[in-house]
């Protein structure tokens, strides 16, 4: 018998195993088909058949039930115990800030340039986008900011659904994704995010009406339509009427509270994401972000560019978002000033075009709020003027 089989021989073995184990052919049939390989093939096929005959005892039903009770008890103990309490206290603010930086880099607002941020279901990068979201959700849950992230993700899912609908590719699964994200946004919403979520739900509910539906998606469509209709309990809290598949709120919400209660923050630092996007005009851009807390209130744009023979360039954008004035969240359409950059292929320079006032979507504001709220605890509203 050969010590090592060649790749074709390995394929022969596997092909024979498939047919013999599924009783489509006998060992003799296979050996007749591959006479040159019969010597080494026969004992291996025989051994495989013997292995297939191994009895597969099931775990006794009572043992399954007993173990299930034990496992569930362990699960509940594990979930109710304070998790990573010490480390989260220590990294609380850092993690929260980093989380938001990641969120922005990923797809949170107009500054988003990450390659996967604009990917849609079915795109190459979409898996990356969803995996990244899982990281964000995990971090957000650790630091008790899942409400903001789910609000954002509800918006993202809704946007994706609209894109697919515009292409005529809307599938029931996508509607279910929207439903799931909105459901979580409602479950996790607190008094800060509820007004924003309500604005989003009403806006999305209206936009949903113009999406054509067919019989294939009708039930899913109706489910999304229903959940986008806000319902409140007597205390003003958003409630779910359909509690099917309702997600649980994880028992880690107090962690962030203990972190923000630390009396060490005496300044009002703002998050300073430093972006270095690399863009190929006409395709997309990607970026990496570093975030640090710097006690400054002056947003600066420092674009630089380098032209190359291939007309690509590497701008550097330093962007310091201002803490917005404290105030009360209102349902009026919020406005924010966003510094945008333009570029020209013939003159590859980035030029700050100054302030541009335009209404932003509630979730974009939520992302902005997250940045500033982490650093200062203030809640931004309405608008801010450029320096």
């Amino acid at each position: 018998m050969n010590d090592q089989l060649t790749p074709p021989q390995l394929d022969i073995l596997d092909a024979c195993l498939e047919t013999v184990l599924r009783r489509e052919k006998t060992i003799a049939d296979c050996l007749a088909h591959y006479p040159d390989d019969a010597v080494w093939l026969k004992p291996q096929l025989q051994t495989a058949l013997l292995l297939r005959s191994l009895s597969a005892p099931g775990m006794p039903e009572d043992a399954v039930k007993t173990l299930e009770n034990r496992v569930v008890r362990q699960f509940n103990r594990s979930m109710s115990a304070p998790r990573h309490n010490t480390s989260v206290r220590w990294v609380g603010k850092w993690a929260a800030g980093f989380m938001v930086a990641l969120l922005i880099a990923f797809g949170g607002g107009t500054t988003t340039v990450a390659a996967s941020a604009n990917s849609q279901p079915g795109d190459v990068f979409y898996g990356v986008k969803r995996a990244w979201e899982n990281v964000i959700v995990y971090l957000a849950t650790l630091v008790g900011r899942a409400d903001e992230v789910w609000l954002h993700l509800a918006q993202v899912r809704f946007d994706e659904m609209q894109t697919l609908a515009a292409k005529g590719n809307l599938e029931p699964d996508m509607l279910d994704e929207v439903y799931g994200a909105v459901q979580r946004a409602i479950v996790f919403a607190d008094s800060d995010t509820t007004p924003l979520l309500v604005v989003f739900m009403m806006s999305a509910g209206s936009e949903l009406q113009i999406i054509p539906q067919d019989t294939l998606i009708a039930a899913h469509y109706d489910r999304v339509s229903a959940i986008l209709e806000p319902h409140f309990d007597p205390s003003g809290r958003l409630v779910l009427l359909d509690k099917t598949d309702m997600p649980d709120v994880p028992p880690v919400q107090t962690i962030a509270a203990s972190a923000t209660a630390e009396p060490t923050l005496t300044q009002m630092p703002t998050l300073l994401p430093s972006a270095t996007p690399t863009e190929t005009p006409g395709v997309f851009a990607s970026a990496t972000f570093d975030a640090s807390a710097t006690p400054t209130r002056t947003p600066t744009d420092t674009p630089t560019s380098t032209a190359t023979v291939t007309a690509s360039f590497t701008p550097t954008l330093t962007w310091t978002p201002l803490p917005l004035p404290a105030g009360t969240l209102v349902t009026a359409t919020p406005l924010v000033v966003v510094a945008t950059m333009t570029q020209s292929l013939s003159s590859p320079r980035l030029t700050p075009t100054g302030a541009l006032l335009y209404p932003i979507r509630p979730t974009q504001l939520a992302v902005y709020m997250t940045q500033t709220a982490i650093a200062s605890g203030e809640i931004p509203t309405e608008e801010v003027s450029p320096p």
Partner: protein, 192 residues
């Protein structure tokens, strides 16, 4: 259970939903038990190790990331590690003499149940002498009946690597049985 349903349950379990985890447990416990049982050949020990597997799964659930493979693949890896740990603790693997001691002639008039029992006993002892990876392939490919691609996904290897492992495992088992004086032909006849 389809993948979407499984992913939903995993996500719920990660957020602390015990019922979701219980469903995942019920869905996978028998496969894990069979896998462990064939590696340790003892029902009670297999039950204990199966319990350990789910305890470890609870501990690691927060770090679990869906990589496109079934949740069971992750549980198999934990089970594999637990079995290795077990053998490391007891510091013993079956030896060739174990097979020889168990090997009794299979007669043509033997009761089929007895033949089956004898074959199982001999094979399990021989399997235990394979490398851990070969054992895993044997269990998943021939006992659980998964195709090469699924075994590859579970073990985190490519299909060609699994084919090579499969061949080495079968060759080693066949040699092992032959050296121990086990008559494969009569065993095969006992199966029919």
């Amino acid at each position: 259970m389809n993948r979407t349903e499984e992913q939903r349950l995993v996500a719920q379990a990660q957020r602390g939903n015990s019922e979701a985890f219980a469903v995942l447990y019920r869905e996978n416990v028998q496969a894990i038990y069979r896998y462990v049982y064939h590696r340790v050949s003892d029902r009670h020990l297999a039950e204990d190790i199966t319990g350990d597997v789910f305890t470890k799964a609870i501990e690691g659930l927060g770090r679990y990331q869906d990589t496109g493979n079934p949740f069971l693949a992750w549980l198999y890896r934990i089970a594999h590690d637990r079995v290795i740990d077990y053998y490391r603790k007891v510091n013993r693997q079956p030896t060739e003499s174990d097979i020889e001691e168990q090997s009794i002639p299979i007669e043509s008039d033997m009761d089929s149940g007895l033949v089956q029992e004898q074959i199982s006993s001999v094979l399990q002892t021989a399997i235990a002498d394979l490398t851990p990876e070969q054992q895993q392939v044997v269990m998943l490919r021939f006992v659980e009946g998964y195709r090469i691609e699924k075994v590859a996904g579970i073990m985190g290897k490519n299909a060609n690597a699994i084919k090579a492992l499969q061949h080495r495992a079968l060759r080693a088992l066949a040699n092992r049985l032959e050296r121990a004086g086990v008559d494969i032909e009569s065993m095969m006849a006992g199966l029919t």
